[in-house]
């Protein structure tokens, strides 16, 4: 249990409710914990949702439905058809449109009483403080580490709560990072994984319902911060496993040595988050050599010896069986490195050419001496260049 936090919406921003408000929110007004006063706080509240994707979709829909007066949406992306299995705020007819425009239309259709402010741009160190300053609460629905650290730091510097959620495959995490009342994201995760170490959702996949559950939990936490009261998710990390249907809760504490919210902060303004997350650095000095699908095909045809290792999982190979390949899933390459012949060039193959780079680096660090290459753009590259009649995935 966490200590209740009083409403963060200042009293001079509690507008009177109209007849329309009273009718629309009648079922919510019946709750003693919300009532007329709580609804006035919601009406005066301003919430910024960073990312209008899997987490942002339920966040925006439930907060709009509940009568949050102003909702800000930050996203620079456009709707893609592969988003629709989870980003339920967008529809098939929205494919190709900016996500913030599509989301705004859907919110207005749901509740025209809500004021929607859109930012069709990436959140950056240049604009984050100016944008976030205008809002009472920030809900983090982003999909990458640089933006997560940026949102955290901007919220700590401005004294705002950061309602956090993240998802991968079947598992989600949620918490409220609010340095005034508990730990921040950096207290828990001092640094991000090195680039490429952890597969992205684009490679690892995600159950569409999962961000629905986690984003809805985030919306619930936002409502409590706005209305005040309840047991907020500050100082607690909620873990959810959709496949096992299991919730767990872990206790989090502020880190006195935290570089931004600790006793002696070393971060006092926003930094370059791409650099912090290693995306611009050259952690791995030796680049990984690539081979194109066309060149690999030429070697096959010319009978030049090459060992091809397919790193994909069994269910991925069901889409497309890579020719002349030995199968070693990424998670087993170090354990099974003795199955490779260092005297022969090795080409690693995955779906889009990310895990293959990781495999080369992992094996290099594990001491494998042979020559290794990454198939550029993975199976996708092979289909595009060599085998266009294969089924696209």
């Amino acid at each position: 249990m966490s200590e209740p936090i009083p409403s963060i919406v200042p009293e001079d921003r509690w507008p009177e409710l109209t007849h329309d408000d009273l009718t629309r929110y009648s079922r919510q007004l019946l709750l003693a914990e919300i009532g007329i006063e709580g609804q006035r706080k919601l009406k005066g509240a301003k919430v910024l949702i960073v990312g209008t994707g899997g987490l942002g979709a339920p966040l925006a829909l439930y907060l709009a439905a509940a009568g949050v007066g102003t909702i800000g949406l930050v996203d620079f992306d456009s709707v893609d058809v592969s988003n629709l299995h989870r980003q339920i705020i967008h529809g098939t007819r929205d494919v190709g449109r900016p996500k913030v425009a599509s989301a705004k239309d859907r919110i207005r259709a749901l509740n025209p009483l809500v004021n929607v402010v859109t930012y069709n741009e990436p959140l950056s160190s240049e604009n984050a403080l100016d944008i976030i300053r205008e809002y009472d609460v920030v809900a983090d629905g982003t999909d990458n580490y640089p933006t997560r650290y940026l949102v955290n730091d901007a919220c700590v510097l401005l004294g705002k709560p950061n309602v956090y959620g993240s998802v991968f495959q079947f598992e989600g995490q949620a918490s409220v990072f609010y340095a005034k009342h508990g730990p921040c994201y950096r207290c828990l995760y001092r640094e991000p994984p090195p680039p490429g170490l952890v597969p992205s959702c684009a490679e690892g996949g995600v159950l569409g319902i999962l961000p629905g559950v986690i984003g809805t939990i985030q919306a619930n936490e936002v409502i409590k911060l706005l209305v005040g009261g309840g047991d907020p998710l500050t100082g607690r990390l909620l873990l959810y496993d959709a496949w096992k249907m299991k919730f767990r809760e872990l206790k989090l504490e502020s880190d006195p040595d935290c570089p931004i919210c600790g006793k002696h902060p070393t971060i006092t303004k926003l930094i370059d988050y791409e650099q912090f997350c290693g995306i611009k650095s050259h952690r791995d000095e030796t680049p990984v050599e690539s081979i194109t699908a066309t060149e690999l095909k030429r070697r096959f045809d010319a009978g030049i010896p090459v060992q091809v290792i397919d790193l994909r999982e069994p269910h991925e190979r069901a889409y497309f069986k890579f020719p002349n390949a030995k199968v070693i899933p990424l998670g087993q390459v170090i354990r099974r490195k003795d199955e490779l012949d260092p005297a022969v060039d090795t080409v690693f193959v995955c779906k889009i050419g990310q895990r293959s780079i990781l495999a080369v680096r992992n094996l290099r660090e594990a001491g494998y001496p042979g020559k290794m290459m990454n198939l550029l753009d993975g199976v996708q590259g092979w289909i595009n260049e060599v085998d266009p009649n294969a089924k696209q995935i």
Binding site: G54, Y145, F168, P193, L250, P329, N362, A366
Partner: protein
């Protein structure tokens, strides 16, 4: 001493898709080393070097972060649950 090490989705590819592994050890470090010895691919994911976990990996013993206890030296009782909780970033 036998403890349960819980493996999150993000790391299951490195442990033959297991979600829970029984491990032997008197401390968190020994239990994790026991698992890492069986699965060197997992070891590479979570360890910076032989003695240090990576900064995006937290380990909780029976619900408490080992940073608040004695780190990898934290003793574990038989039947304890050691949970690996890495950062995940997906939201889209």
């Amino acid at each position: 001493m036998s403890v349960s090490v819980l493996i999150p989705s993000a790391l299951r590819a490195f442990v033959d898709r297991k979600s829970e592994i029984e491990a032997e050890g008197a401390t968190v470090g020994e239990a994790l080393a026991h698992v890492a010895a069986q699965y060197p691919d997992l070891k590479h994911q979570i360890y910076e070097d032989d003695a240090k976990l990576r900064g995006f990996v937290n380990v909780f013993v029976d619900g408490t972060n080992i940073k608040k206890l004695n780190g990898l030296e934290t003793p574990v009782a038989a039947g304890a649950t050691v949970m690996i909780v890495p950062a995940i970033a997906g939201g889209y």
